[in-house]
């Protein structure tokens, strides 16, 4: 929390999404302050068979990033497990925008997308939304993305759907810039 005190941010962007998708990685990639986090060694790595995922966010991660004009934005990584619903109720309404990170290469990507959009809709957190797909090439065809666009379209008329790499600072910054700047769901006339 020491890193947070004294910093004034006008906006806050929440990173949400399923367990292991790269929310914490993304936040750490771009934060220009030491990330405040509450990680524990994850037992779920053994259960879910994800040897690359050795920790999990049990509280939330907090970092910050400055736009080119000096404006600072707070970045919050929200835990992805279902048992942290109370955390979602706390963090999502406070966020200016949301980046929903999803595994782009999984067969259940559409189902996952719908599940998380329901979560966001229940907390009135759809207005400024970006859906970021990991593990896909940047030149993935629009046809391949269309099933997800169709699902997103039911919740938000034109929320951005982009491919992104949580390990790439430029890619993560792009998602944040778009999330902060995208017109609200009701703003498309």
């Amino acid at each position: 929390m020491k890193a947070v005190l004294g910093h004034r941010t006008s906006q806050q962007v929440a990173f949400v999404g399923p367990f292991g998708v790269g929310k914490t990685t993304a936040l750490r990639t771009v934060s220009d302050i030491p990330v405040v986090n509450m990680d524990e060694t994850s037992t779920e790595t053994r259960v879910l068979g994800n040897p690359e995922k050795t920790t999990t966010t049990v509280g939330f991660d907090y970092g910050e990033w400055a736009f080119a004009d000096g404006t600072r934005v707070g970045l919050v990584g929200v835990p992805g497990q279902d048992r942290f619903r109370a955390m979602w109720d706390t963090m999502l309404p406070r966020s200016t925008a949301v980046v929903l990170w999803l595994f782009g290469d999984r067969a259940n990507a559409v189902t996952d997308c719908r599940t998380w959009l329901d979560i966001l809709a229940a907390r009135d957190a759809l207005d400024h939304l970006v859906v970021a797909l990991t593990r896909l090439p940047d030149d993935v065809s629009d046809a391949q993305l269309q099933p997800l666009r169709d699902v997103i379209g039911h919740y938000h008329g034109f929320a951005p759907l982009i491919t992104a790499d949580p390990r790439d600072a430029g890619s993560v910054m792009q998602t944040v810039m778009i999330a902060v700047g995208t017109p609200a769901a009701s703003g498309h006339g």
Binding site: D138, F158, Q174, H188
Partner: protein, 218 residues
């Protein structure tokens, strides 16, 4: 009129001198000119209307193309009728001004976003544009395009690079994500004549709706 992109011209036959003359007129009309070896590679066709049966076969082929060229149908008499309604009839000798106006419409069909007001229906995947996609100015341009109709020159005036914007708009147009509202009915028709996909049909309807509204208002 040139903007760095070439006009690729395919000619059905060079037998008739009038065809060669028209090709020369296009070449000198301040455009980047290149010959296309195959009809499908061309953005402009010059068809010798005096050649027996050439028009009918080409009309059939033209109708099947997803992206249609602009077609100059050169006939011997002004009473001739091009085999396809989208083709433009020329009779020899062709006036230089007539060629320039027709090429202007060709440009409009190739870069429809340069004419009229633009609107994006959804965000493109900006990740596919590399560093340009991470440029705040291109992101801001997309935000403007999503919020309210805006013209191409205004977008450029806000600082986004033309190359990046053209690439994004070309992709959006090809994907059916870009709506272009042309105030000029002739330009709208030129743009519309190049469309031939299911997505294009919906876009064509929006173009015609706009034209109808403006016609009623005038």
């Amino acid at each position: 009129m040139t903007d760095g992109r070439s006009v690729k011209v395919w000619v059905s036959s060079l037998r008739w001198q009038a065809v060669r003359v028209l090709a020369r007129q296009i070449q000198v009309a301040d455009v980047d000119f290149a010959w296309a070896l195959a009809a499908d590679e061309a953005s402009v066709w010059i068809i010798d209307g005096t050649a027996v049966d050439a028009g009918a076969d080409l009309s059939t082929h033209y109708a099947r193309l997803l992206r249609r060229p602009r077609v100059a149908y050169l006939a011997a008499t002004p009473t001739a009728s091009p085999p396809h309604p989208d083709w433009t009839l020329f009779t020899s000798p062709v006036d230089d001004g007539e060629v320039e106006r027709w090429l202007g419409l060709t440009r409009a069909a190739e870069q429809p976003w340069c004419n009229g007001l633009l609107r994006l229906q959804q965000w493109p995947n900006l990740a596919r544009y590399g560093v340009h996609g991470r440029d705040g100015r291109l992101i801001a341009a997309c935000m403007q395009l999503l919020t309210a109709p805006i013209d191409y020159q205004t977008l450029l005036a806000d600082g986004v690079t033309a190359a990046a914007l053209d690439t994004l708009l070309a992709d959006a147009w090809a994907s059916g994500l870009l709506i272009v509202n042309c105030a000029d009915a002739a330009v709208a028709e030129a743009v519309n004549s190049g469309l031939n996909t299911p997505i294009d049909a919906a876009r064509r309807a929006r173009l015609f709706d706009h034209i109808a509204v403006r016609s009623a208002a005038q």
